[in-house]
Point group: C2
Amino acid sequence: MGVSLKDVAQRAGVSVKTVSNVVNDFPHVTPSTRARVQRAIDDLGYRPNLSARHLRKGRTGIIALAVPELGNPYFAEVAGAVIDAAVRHEHTVLLDHTAGRRELENLVSQGFRSHVIDGLILSPIELENEDLVARPAGPPMVLLGERQYDAPYDHIAIDNIAAARTAVRHLLDLGRRRIAFLGARHESERQPAHLRLQGWRAEIEANGMTPPESLVVATDGYGRRDGAVAMAAVLDRGERPDAVFAYNDMMALGAMRTLYERGLRIPEDVAVVGFDDIEEGHYGAVSLTTIAPDKAAIAELAVECLVTRITTPPSPSDEPRRIHPPYRLVVRESTRVRRG
Amino acid sequence: MGVSLKDVAQRAGVSVKTVSNVVNDFPHVTPSTRARVQRAIDDLGYRPNLSARHLRKGRTGIIALAVPELGNPYFAEVAGAVIDAAVRHEHTVLLDHTAGRRELENLVSQGFRSHVIDGLILSPIELENEDLVARPAGPPMVLLGERQYDAPYDHIAIDNIAAARTAVRHLLDLGRRRIAFLGARHESERQPAHLRLQGWRAEIEANGMTPPESLVVATDGYGRRDGAVAMAAVLDRGERPDAVFAYNDMMALGAMRTLYERGLRIPEDVAVVGFDDIEEGHYGAVSLTTIAPDKAAIAELAVECLVTRITTPPSPSDEPRRIHPPYRLVVRESTRVRRG
């Protein structure tokens, strides 16, 4: 703060114009001058005025990130990672939450503040394909998350079917056969839980069994309370699963609360696997086994894709990118049966 | 989306200019015309282009909110509430996280993007009074949180000493006498935990006891892991508290994890009280007693203060406002000893 181009120029013994050329990466500067200016910049802690540089190119240097809910630690953790990645790419982040509601997702997608932003990263919940197809021209947009679309936008999402199969495989390997799925939505094939439910079915069938559909519970939302209520509903109708695969960690943690209240032991009576690897799952009386998407990779890929779209003129040969970041199964106490 | 002033004008049977006058709250419109236009606006779901209105007044309609950490659910929940409050006040929120580091808090406070924002809400951790006093003229700023400053900025914070005393009183009423405090910082009188620690001391002394200083644990940070490590440190040096008052819920939940691992019962052996009322404390094997600040009130007051500063020209008689939003003690299982 307070250090100007002029201060840098004086320290380096060059003109302000030369410092400006270095800061803006213009080519006509000798390597030795560039090095001298860079040293002065480092010594003085000078910060180039990034927004001025962006503004010269007709941009604001701001990208928007719209997530369904900041109160969901998964999205809060991803948002933190996106903000960090944006800094590395010399952008700042305007953060918004859509409550996962279609009209707000549309509002964001259709650019209600496109005058302020260079591009948008959107993690949709209820947005439909027709909404995306009808999107007017606007700033570049990159999609995050498990919803699948047939629309010309880059999309970053782990392979949800494969990840869900990994989780169910782990429970089958423990000898569990009555594996509940919490967090289904029945209204639409495109609803988020669809792919994970598909993975649950596929892995059970691959094991030569019939998926126990009576253990699939639809929920209104994806929070801790939804998980607790879904688990209670299964038990109240006399079902007795020996394992639970929940749509996400928050629901898994809610389900665990119900199991504690009912006096069921985790994992001896009911093993539990979640999805997201939020930090709170590491704690609690019984730590939570989960599928851990690589959040740092998701954030970096999303920002990188978006900045490329912002800085590269569109061409007819552009294909939307479909990128599957890595994930892994993290085994903790909720599936670690103590023996002996 | 897609509804224009013209659509509203046609529906209301008035000119576009009249609709514009209504939308911009100009006075020369009859009440009946205003009502007719408003009905058309509601019927069609027309959204006035707020940013154009802001821009006409030389403003952007954007306020910044800088919190130490989005991964801390307390700040994520407050951020969600601020975004909602900003919408009610016709502003959007540019969210940033400072990692609670003094240099980043200074960067934000000193307005590194003051060209984009109308005002700033900052929740500081390490920022010092001298930093605030040295702040150059810039957009209005409102402070949040427990740090105390002698500087000309509005500040919204619950009464932390009184709230901490309430928590400790509750433990004393349960007959607990060896109450640990987790999360002290020793370096500075102004460090965040200072007031809560002061409340811990004051309430124990008011009870005619000497505060057990050997049960006060300083930590490097305020996360779950810090709480777990602090709890382990107390137990490892042979101390045996019968209660824990933690600086925040995350630390309390971390401490509970350590108690589980050591086979200590909550609350029978060690009662636990946190601070913040984050949702995850409602769940877990033992739900967490906590001090619940009124987050919606904090957010509304912060945005209201800031918007007032943005829209009202400064006057020499302005006094910085010190506002203490309400809080309450929420008793859950971590202090509810089962009898009989």
